[in-house]
Every structure is written in structure tokens, then in C-alpha cells.
């Protein structure tokens, strides 16, 4: 089942992460894309594919226009909101493996703090035409379920009920990630430590989620360049192989949340996705040296550790309590500080950190890291990749 790598990541580019970029989203996209191409040692004219997420506001043709491209042979978007980040690599890898494109940039660039606050209800409300999306929202918004936190909180509450997990258990992962961020100059919370007491005294957002369980709202952009493995060998950076690339939806997903699923205490979509990753790569959780797990909310990290098989159901609180997600733990997790403490770039900053780990250039480097798993948001239609060092 060990497929040869169909694509490799050869370049990564990133803007700074802030609360007010002062620049247009399209400019952030262009900055990230051109930095990623420079990192790879490629020219814009080498690019024939562009992939982003439905969340992103920058059209692929607009990015192509300002990259000065005469033609695109592949362009696409992943759905599922924040679940779709690694899925852009899934699409890009498929395009490269099937000859639809030779070199693809996956990008995501937004001002989702300064231009419109992503965690506020306005993003969801206001559509009065009976579109399918508006009708779907009509089983939530009239009841006050209008923010991402509100959509996912009942899953986390049920997880606590089923397995005895506590708010402190969620807080411990937030504290682990803040410690990583305190060593990462790119992290928004670089200079601000976090204790478990700070977490426990932070205000309630959507019970059981406290402020420091929630990801940030950030301005910023990240882009990754992918090409075929044989071409990657001749480029500037040591290539990072895409060893597995999958997507997943679980039972009774309805809109952004799986609230009608029999068991809300299991991240079933992550399980569907992760099972494919292990089958495609011929690797398992025990082979991973580092994990970048989508942390829209801290309990989602625990539930994904379980769904990916790093531990059994209900065992992640113990894994975190024992230091399992710290740098010398069984699976160092979100070593950039994650979206709680570095920035919320819809998981693209996690993809960038995975590449740094496999190049050996992370500020929180896992010694000898050879394999990484990166996920999109759980509880939403999700995606993920397994990446491997090649040099």
C-alpha cells in the first residue's frame, strides 16, 4: 500500500501574522505566493495550477493575473471551511500525479480580523433568500447558534460527559502550545506566557469553551508550491514528499457541524480521513514525529489525537497531562503554537510548520523529524496530509 510520492512541497512563503495587515487580501496572497516561489527557486511562469479554499476571498484568476500567468490548466477550491486547508494539497497532488498541472501553488490569504471578524455572527447571518445554505443555517441561527464556537461546543460538552474530560484538560493543551509560541517570533503571543490559571480564569465564550480555548482571528497569508518529485529534486530546498493526502466527512454532517450524529464525542470525519492517510502512506500514528492538528478550539486537538489513533477514545486528556504533546513527548503537537497562539491562517500555518520541521528549521525543532501529519478542522468536512522528509 506504500504509494510512491505523487507530489512534493518545494517552497513555502508567508506574510507576517497580525491583527491589522494594512494591506489588501489580494496583496497578502501575492506576497505569500511570490515568497513561496522564491523559496523554491521557481519563477511565476513555472506555475500552471492554483488551489485555495472556499473560505478564501482571492479568486484563482485574480492571483494568476497578478502573477502574470498566461495560462492556468488547473484551479480548484476545497469546501468545508477550515476543514479544507490540507485538502488543497490533496487536490494539487492529484493534479500533478495525473498530469493536469506541473507546478501548483496552494494559498490562503485573508484579513479575517481587520476586514471582518471571522468569529462574529455577521459572517453567517443576513441571507434571507432561501438558498440551500440559508435553509441549512435556519436550523441553527434562530436558536442563537451563530458562531463557530457555538456550532462545535455541544460536541466538546458531550465529549466531557462521555469521557470525564475537563476544562483543565483543554487548558493544558493551550498551555503547551503557548509555550511553543513563546519561542516562535512569528507567533502573535510570542511575548505572552499562559498558565493553566490564566486559562481557567479567562472568560467563557461558548460553554465549555473559554477564551484561551479559542483560536485567534488573524490577518495573514501562507502559500506552498508543489511539483512532481522528479522535478523537486533539482530545486533549491530539500523537497518534502506528500505521502498521503485525504479528505473526510462523517455520518450526518449537516452544514458546518455534525450535530445530528449519534455520537458527538468522536471526531468521525477525522477518523474517515485519517484511516485513508495511514492506508495511503503505509505509515501509522507511531511513525509520526510531529503533528499539526487543526486547533480552532483546544478540545478539537484532543479529539483528533484520538480519531487519528495516537491514543484510544477518551485517552487524550491523559496523553496531554503526561506531556505527550510537548517537544519530547510521544507526539509533539502544534509546535508553532498553533492557531491558538501563533495565528489563525485556516491551518496553512500548520502546513508551513510541518515543512519547517521536515527541513529541520523549526524554532521548536523535533530532533530528526522525518514524518508529520497535518489536519484540517475536525467536526467540519475535513482533510489531511502525511508529509515526509526526503533528504
Amino acid at each position: 500500500m506504500n504509494h510512491p510520492p505523487s507530489a512534493a512541497i518545494v517552497g513555502v512563503g508567508s506574510t507576517e501574522f497580525s491583527k491589522a495587515s494594512g494591506r489588501s487580501e489580494l496583496r497578502l496572497a501575492l506576497e505569500a505566493c511570490t515568497l513561496a516561489l522564491a523559496d523554491a527557486g521557481l519563477d511565476p511562469s513555472d506555475v500552471d495550477g492554483l488551489v485555495t479554499m472556499t473560505m478564501d476571498d482571492n479568486d484563482e484568476p485574480a492571483v494568476a493575473h497578478y502573477l502574470g500567468l498566461d495560462a492556468l490548466t488547473f484551479f480548484a477550491r476545497t469546501s468545508g471551511g477550515g476543514g479544507g486547508g490540507p485538502g488543497t494539497l490533496t487536490l494539487a497532488s492529484m493534479a500533478i500525479a495525473t498530469g493536469r498541472a506541473r507546478t501548483v501553488i496552494c494559498y490562503r490569504a485573508m484579513n479575517e480580523r481587520s476586514q471582518g471578524r471571522f468569529g462574529q455572527p455577521s459572517r453567517y447571518a443576513g441571507d434571507r433568500a432561501a438558498t440551500a445554505a440559508a435553509v441549512t443555517m435556519s436550523w441553527a441561527a434562530p436558536f442563537g447558534m451563530v458562531t463557530p464556537a457555538a456550532f462545535f461546543a455541544p460536541s466538546f460538552r458531550r465529549y466531557m460527559h462521555e469521557y470525564g474530560a475537563t476544562s483543565e484538560d483543554f487548558g493544558r493543551q493551550a498551555v503547551v502550545q503557548r509555550a511553543y509560541a513563546n519561542k516562535n517570533p512569528q507567533a502573535f503571543f510570542h511575548d505572552r506566557p499562559l498558565t493553566l490559571d490564566d486559562h481557567q480564569s479567562s472568560r467563557m465564550i461558548a460553554d465549555p469553551l473559554r477564551l484561551f480555548d479559542c483560536c485567534q482571528e488573524s490577518d495573514g497569508g501562507v502559500a506552498l508550491v508543489l511539483t512532481a518529485p522528479e522535478r523537486a529534486k533539482d530545486l533549491r530546498q530539500p523537497p518534502v514528499a506528500v505521502l498521503g493526502a485525504a479528505m473526510g466527512v462523517g455520518p450526518r454532517q449537516y452544514g458546518v457541524a455534525p450535530l445530528y450524529r449519534d455520537d458527538l464525542a468522536d471526531a468521525a470525519e477525522t477518523r474517515v480521513m485519517g484511516d485513508q492517510l495511514w492506508a495511503q502512506s503505509g505509515l501509522g500514528p507511531g511513525d509520526m514525529d510531529v503533528a499539526l492538528l487543526y486547533d480552532h478550539f483546544s478540545p478539537a486537538v484532543l479529539m483528533q489525537l484520538e480519531a487519528l489513533g495516537f491514543c484510544g477514545l477518551g485517552e487524550a486528556p491523559g496523553l496531554v497531562r503526561d506531556g505527550g504533546t510537548e517537544i519530547d513527548g510521544v507526539i509533539p503537537t502544534n509546535t508553532n503554537g498553533g492557531q491558538l497562539s501563533e495565528a489563525y491562517i485556516h491551518g496553512f500555518n500548520g502546513l508551513a510548520e510541518a515543512v519547517r520541521q521536515l527541513r529541520g528549521t523549526s524554532v521548536n525543532q523535533v530532533t530528526g523529524a522525518a514524518h508529520a501529519v497535518v489536519t484540517g478542522g475536525s467536526h467540519a468536512p475535513t482533510s489531511g496530509v502525511v508529509l515526509g522528509r526526503t533528504a
Binding site: 468569529g119 462574529q120 455572527p121 447571518a125 443576513g126 441571507d127 434571507r128 433568500a129 432561501a130 438558498t131 440559508a134 435553509v135 441549512t136 443555517m137 435556519s138 436550523w139 441553527a140 441561527a141 434562530p142 436558536f143 442563537g144 447558534m145 451563530v146 458562531t147 464556537a149 457555538a150 461546543a153 455541544p154 460536541s155 460538552r157 458531550r158 460527559h161 472568560r203 467563557m204 465564550i205 461558548a206 460553554d207 465549555p208 469553551l209 449537516y254 450535530l259 445530528y260 458527538l264
Partner: protein
């Protein structure tokens, strides 16, 4: 006690699959879809039966009794149209379908997963929201 929600909640968008639910609520009835072919109940309303794929369905009134499967209390940002924190409930109805709604008239700190609930209705201008409360007898002994 949380205050009752007031006007200004986001109104539901309705289509031919879903209009019956809000029409029933306006008449203070709680109703779900029943598949005309395999008789399975389903919610939220949709065009087809996920079990047998029949497009034929009818409206079935339900008892309005259920249990609390899970919940959240939305403190920040405030839910539009709510005076205080919105108590958002995931309710398992005794007929075997699940419904997202509100629990009203309770101190959210006392909510217990698995506790019994019953439907009640809150009227807004031109529409009515089905929501849930503790059954009267249970609340009286607290």
C-alpha cells in the same frame, strides 16, 4: 434564570421542504417529516429519506418530549435577538429524532445531560420558535 429571548432573532429561511415545520410551530405544534415509504422520521427536514431515498413524505406531529443530549451557553459574542446568554440545546426527542433548539427558564449552571425536556413556544412577529423547558412537575420540586 436567563431572560427570555426577545425580538430580533434571525428569521428562518424556508423552502418547500421546510415550510411545514414553521407553519406547525406557528400553530404551536411540533412536527417532523415522516417518510411515506419506510415510515422513518427525520429532522432537520430535507427532500429525501436518507434510509430508503423516497421523495414522498408527510408531516407527523411529535409529543414534544425529549432529553438533553448536549448543549452550549453562548456568552460571547451575544447571539442576535437574545437578551442574555443563549442556552442552545441538542435535544433527542422521544420519537428518535434530534433537534437543535433552546432551553428556556433555567439556570444554565443546573443543566444536566440526559434530563427530560418538553417543548414550549415563543411567539415573534409573524413566526414562532419551538423551544424547550423543564417539565413543570420537575421544575416545581427544585
Amino acid at each position: 434564570m436567563t431572560k427570555a429571548p426577545t425580538a430580533g432573532r434571525p428569521r428562518p429561511a424556508v423552502n418547500p421542504d421546510t415550510r411545514f415545520f414553521w407553519d406547525a410551530a406557528f400553530e404551536r405544534r411540533l412536527a417532523v417529516q415522516r417518510c411515506s415509504a419506510c415510515r422513518a422520521l427525520r429532522h432537520p427536514p430535507g427532500p429525501a429519506c436518507p434510509r430508503c431515498h423516497s421523495l414522498d413524505w408527510e408531516v407527523s406531529d411529535v409529543s414534544g418530549r425529549g432529553t438533553l443530549y448536549s448543549y452550549t451557553v453562548l456568552h460571547h459574542p451575544p447571539a442576535p435577538g437574545f437578551d442574555g446568554p443563549a442556552v442552545i440545546a441538542v435535544v433527542d426527542l422521544e420519537e428518535g429524532v434530534r433537534m437543535v433548539s433552546n432551553v428556556v427558564g433555567v439556570d444554565p449552571a443546573t443543566l444536566t445531560i440526559g434530563e427530560p425536556l418538553e417543548v414550549c413556544f415563543e411567539e415573534h412577529v409573524g413566526w414562532t420558535v419551538p423551544q424547550f423547558r423543564r417539565p413543570a412537575a420537575r421544575e416545581a420540586v427544585r
